[in-house]
């Protein structure tokens, strides 16, 4: 029988393309022959816009890149500029930054896991994760008055100290976390269908992962031990004791489980940070007008999606001469075609889910 392939246009309006990603699928029945991601529907030209803003004004734009893990985006940029200026950040601010970044990482991974489960048809798992994420957003709201786009971490410290009772509430969240994890273990990871859908699908060998410059959970799921927090510690990350969870196979299941384990490690970091956090100021003495000396800097941090880097060039003026972000979600998304080939349509949404693209960051 003569058969032919056909094209299916998935997105930009589709329930599970995580925003406005468009994938042109070439299909043979239900089997994917080729998957071409088409990006750019959310492109706002952030890098160019930032060249016209002062350094402080560019921070809110980073919030809108990876809007799931905004705190870390703020952190990366602020640390890059601080590096350029040679600025010392007060101790307490460093600890608050770490706590915020790790809470944000947990929130991001919760969305990741929830969206993935939802894509596989398990709506209840999604709702449970969103419910627990709400507590983190509540913490952010109390600290800086925003649930999503924070602009909380500033050049030289953080915007303001955490309010009274915040540390205790954060502590309660840390204490409750194992129970939440227990729920997910039962409802999501323990489910036979979920395991059958995830295991041995879309295997990414370590050499290919490295060759494609993958980072974050995608890379570590393939067994490559690379975490910026460990390998190139920034801020005060070298003071904490935590593990880097690694996968063995690099399939969908590993990519999922690695992130779930990362959440536990983040809780460990927050736990230590809450114990060690000193009193004191949260903002360094920063001039009103930030004019970094002439020069360039590249600084990278471990985002929930991977290795997030900022490249900032200063010409000595108020505004950056060049402002560039290495966006891990964008780089990881390039693996989509390679991973999808030969699998079914239903796997495409699962693979896309495990690559965890946030379109705000992919398109930037």
């Amino acid at each position: 029988m003569q058969t032919q392939t056909y094209e299916l246009n998935m997105g930009p309006q589709h329930p599970s393309t995580h925003g406005v990603l468009r994938i042109i699928l070439e299909l043979d029945g239900e089997v994917v022959v080729k998957a071409t991601p088409v990006i750019g529907y959310l492109h706002r030209g952030i890098e160019k816009i930032c060249e016209g803003k002062t350094y402080g004004q560019t921070i809110p734009f980073t919030d809108r890149m990876d809007y799931m893990h905004s705190m870390n985006n703020n952190l990366g940029l602020c640390q890059a500029v601080e590096k350029l200026m040679g600025l010392e950040v007060p101790e307490r601010a460093e600890y608050i930054r770490v706590i915020m970044a790790e809470l944000s990482r947990i929130a991001s991974h919760m969305i990741y896991a929830g969206a993935l489960v939802n894509d596989l048809g398990g709506v209840t798992g999604f709702v449970f994760l969103i419910r627990d994420r709400e507590r983190i957003l509540e913490l952010f709201n109390k600290a800086c008055g925003a649930r999503m786009t924070f602009n909380y971490i500033r050049i030289g410290g953080v915007q303001q100290d955490v309010p009274e009772g915040w540390v205790e509430e954060c502590r309660r969240f840390v204490d409750d976390f194992p129970e939440m994890m227990h729920t997910y273990n039962g409802l999501i990871m323990g489910n036979e269908i979920f395991q059958a859908r995830m295991k041995d699908i879309a295997i990414l060998p370590p050499d290919r992962a490295v060759a494609m410059a993958a980072s974050g959970g995608v890379l570590r799921a393939s067994g490559v031990n690379y975490d910026v927090r460990k390998d190139d510690p920034y801020g005060i990350y070298d003071r904490f004791d935590f593990d880097v969870p690694l996968g063995t196979k690099g399939d969908n299941w590993d990519r999922f489980i690695v992130r779930m384990q990362e959440m536990e490690q983040s809780i460990r970091i927050i736990d230590q940070a809450l114990k060690q956090m000193p009193e004191g100021p949260v903002m360094a003495k920063v001039p009103k007008v930030i004019k970094p000396p002439v020069g360039e800097v590249y600084h990278h941090v471990e985002n929930s999606k991977g290795d997030l880097g900022y490249y900032v060039v200063s010409d000595g003026g108020m505004k950056p001469y060049r402002w560039h972000a290495r966006r891990p979600a964008m780089v990881n998304l390039q693996l989509l075609d390679e991973l999808c080939r030969g699998y079914k349509i239903a796997d495409v949404v699962a693979i896309l889910g495990t690559l965890d693209p946030v379109l705000g960051e992919v398109d930037c």
Partner: protein
């Protein structure tokens, strides 16, 4: 057995006694009574769909630790009425490039077999709309027509998502029909009749769920697949193929599919309670408790069992993620089918041994 006529049978009797002097001819009265039955069934389907839409959202809320609808009326009961009003007031939109007739006919054909299947459901003692002597066979035959409107919708919509969904519908429903039928064969062999009322009456001492546990399990799984509900909701597969065959439908046309789906859900649950859970038979309890159980009318028992089955189906839907298409087919052909065949074999051997034991 309690032989007192209950509310519904006496109601039917009084309608008949009003009608017979008016029409005269006994055959004509029978025909009129079928009309009354049809009316009752359609009313049941509509009210049931309204209740199930509300119930499903309440169950989902319960599973997901939230409230579900709670604004309109007590416990949000009027929410689905508001939904129906919304659906009816929506524009009847027909995309330009659809195959006009196939596309327009599909929702109607979806609804028709659902109504027809209700003809043989044993709602209570003497409360079977048409007690055919091939009742269960008729049910299977009629309800399997549901495959065709889904394919029609998929083909007629001129949309690739719809087409994929339609193809999945055919593959899935044809595959799971076989274990569904085979799972019921065990019970039928025990009874020796295809008549619905005899199947229910045979369970007055012990329900078939205890004699045929494997068959019941197979039936529940296959029925979930047959009604296209999670974890077998590949046909709609929201996160994969948008809404499958229903992608291009809106307003009342879409609601007809919905209605048909909920009617099918009620029908398979009703069959489950009739074939495996003793239908209108009360809980077989000894002594005074048993007498108390007998005092409750049969149709209440039947409704209770049916709605418990529906709750189980809803429970599945809000717990499990979706299968993949190859896993679905593999599970149907490699697990359920051999299991149901083995069940038939074991049942046959059991019946043979039982006869030998009785004979000897």
């Amino acid at each position: 057995m309690n032989s007192n006529p209950d509310l519904l049978t006496s109601l039917a009797g009084s309608i008949r006694s009003v009608l017979s002097p008016l029409i005269g001819n006994p055959d004509g009265v029978d025909m009129a009574m079928y009309g009354v039955g049809l009316l009752a069934v359609i009313t049941l389907i509509f009210t049931n769909a309204v209740i199930l839409v509300w119930g499903e959202r309440k169950v989902a809320g319960f599973m997901q630790s939230r409230y579900g609808p709670n604004r309109l009326g007590p416990w949000g009961l009027f929410q689905s009425i508001a939904d129906v009003l919304k659906l009816m007031s929506k524009e009847d939109y027909r995309p330009k490039l659809v195959d006009k007739w196939v596309w327009a006919l599909a929702p109607i054909i979806m609804f028709a077999p659902a109504v027809a299947a209700y003809a043989v459901l044993p709602f209570g003692k003497d409360l079977v709309p048409v007690d055919l002597n091939i009742g269960i066979f008729y049910f299977i035959a009629v309800s399997s027509i549901t495959t065709i409107p889904l394919l029609m919708a998929g083909w007629g919509s001129n949309n690739k998502y719809s087409l994929i969904g339609g193809m999945r519908a055919v593959a899935q429903m044809v595959s799971y029909e076989i274990p569904l039928v085979f799972s019921m064969l065990g019970a039928i062999m025990l009874v020796g009749s295809l008549k619905m009322s005899s199947i229910v009456e045979a369970q007055s001492h012990i329900w078939f769920v205890f004699l045929q546990p494997v068959a019941f399990l197979v039936y529940v799984i296959a029925a979930t697949a047959e009604t296209n509900r999670a974890p077998f909701d590949l046909v709609e597969g929201e996160s994969e193929i948008v809404a499958g065959p229903l992608t291009e439908y809106s307003g009342m046309r879409w609601a007809m599919f919905f209605l048909g789906e909920y009617a099918n859900l009620l029908a398979v649950s009703a069959i489950a309670s009739a074939v495996f859970l003793g239908g209108w038979q009360p809980l077989p309890l000894p002594g005074a408790l048993g007498d108390m159980m007998h005092a409750i009318p049969g149709w209440i028992w039947f409704a209770l069992k049916t709605y418990i089955m529906i709750f189980v189906f809803m429970w599945f839907r809000w717990t499990f993620p979706r299968f993949r298409v190859d896993q679905l087919m593999g599970f149907g052909w490699k697990v359920l089918l051999p299991l149901s065949l083995a069940n038939i074999l074991v049942t046959g051997v059991g019946i043979f041994l039982y006869r030998v034991a009785i004979g000897g």
